[in-house]
Symmetry: C2
Subunit: 170 residues, 2 copies
């Protein structure tokens, strides 16, 4: 099976939904008249990464999951975002790069051996990398970012998380 | 591609990790001398489901994702848990049922049309149901349950979320 479809479109979909959460955060900030950028430091526990880092790791999670399966070197994104607008740009750049990928690059990805810089001497079969590390990690950070915003009163719900689901008529 | 492996083992892995979070919650409750069952009502926003409901939906999410792909009718679990121990039993029953499934039941699941009671007249290709609805919804509730516990001081971290990742030596 070629892992490009539906897994890469779904990474793009979720990142696009994260942009929607930022738009809803702006609505709240304007309504309550606070500086939206205070949200960057928001976290659910003192030893948890704050919101800005959740979005950076989310961006990297999507990027590296796709890159490792495709066997390509992705662009470097400096983790230097200081405003919600810069986080927006980070997510948009990630989506734009994912959109340059093509299914042909993913042929054989399911059985390819993926190695990781933080696990020297170890490998994962491509499909196991996707299903047992890449996707859970990506959704962990997506949901954590969402939860921090939700906890701070941003008007987001399940449909804002799921985004587009490709139903057809039966 | 047969969707059983690695996706069903990964559902089982994540539910097993949820059991670990409950064990860690018990450690905290004993340390701080509070009734562990107060955590069932914990939530991150007043209009969000509380922890007990997050675990019920997590159980259903795993169960229905696997059942719809396999084309089988799963057991009914009443959403009547009133204690953390009952939540534990719910998760264990879910894991036990998932372990009765076999790869042969998933042949053709990737292209099977899945229909859903809440989307009358609509269908999803099996692989799209998995990747664009089943898994994101499952991880959304797993991470939300985790986040509620984390926010309440339970000593859980990323490794407690990911659980077992099937690395091999290279």
């Amino acid at each position: 099976m070629n892992l490009y479809d539906p897994f890469v479109p779904q990474l793009i979909n979720t990142l696009g939904q994260a942009l929607q959460w930022l738009s809803k955060a702006r609505v709240l900030a304007e309504q309550k008249k606070f500086d939206i950028d205070v949200l960057l430091a928001a976290r659910l526990a003192p030893d948890q990464y704050p919101l800005v880092r959740q979005f950076q790791i989310l961006s990297d999670g999507a990027k590296f999951t796709a890159a490792r399966l495709a066997g390509v070197t992705p662009p470097v994104f400096e983790d230097n975002e200081k405003t919600i607008e810069e986080v927006r740009v980070r997510l948009e750049k990630t989506i734009a790069w994912l959109k340059t990928l093509e299914p042909a690059q993913f042929e054989g990805a399911d059985t390819r051996t993926v190695t990781l810089p933080f696990a020297p001497g170890k490998g994962l079969k491509g499909i196991d990398f996707l299903a047992r590390l890449g996707l859970p990690n990506f959704y962990f950070h997506a949901t954590t970012a969402y939860a921090i915003l939700r906890h701070n009163g941003v008007d987001v719900g399940k449909m804002d998380f799921l985004g587009e689901v490709p139903f057809f008529d039966v």
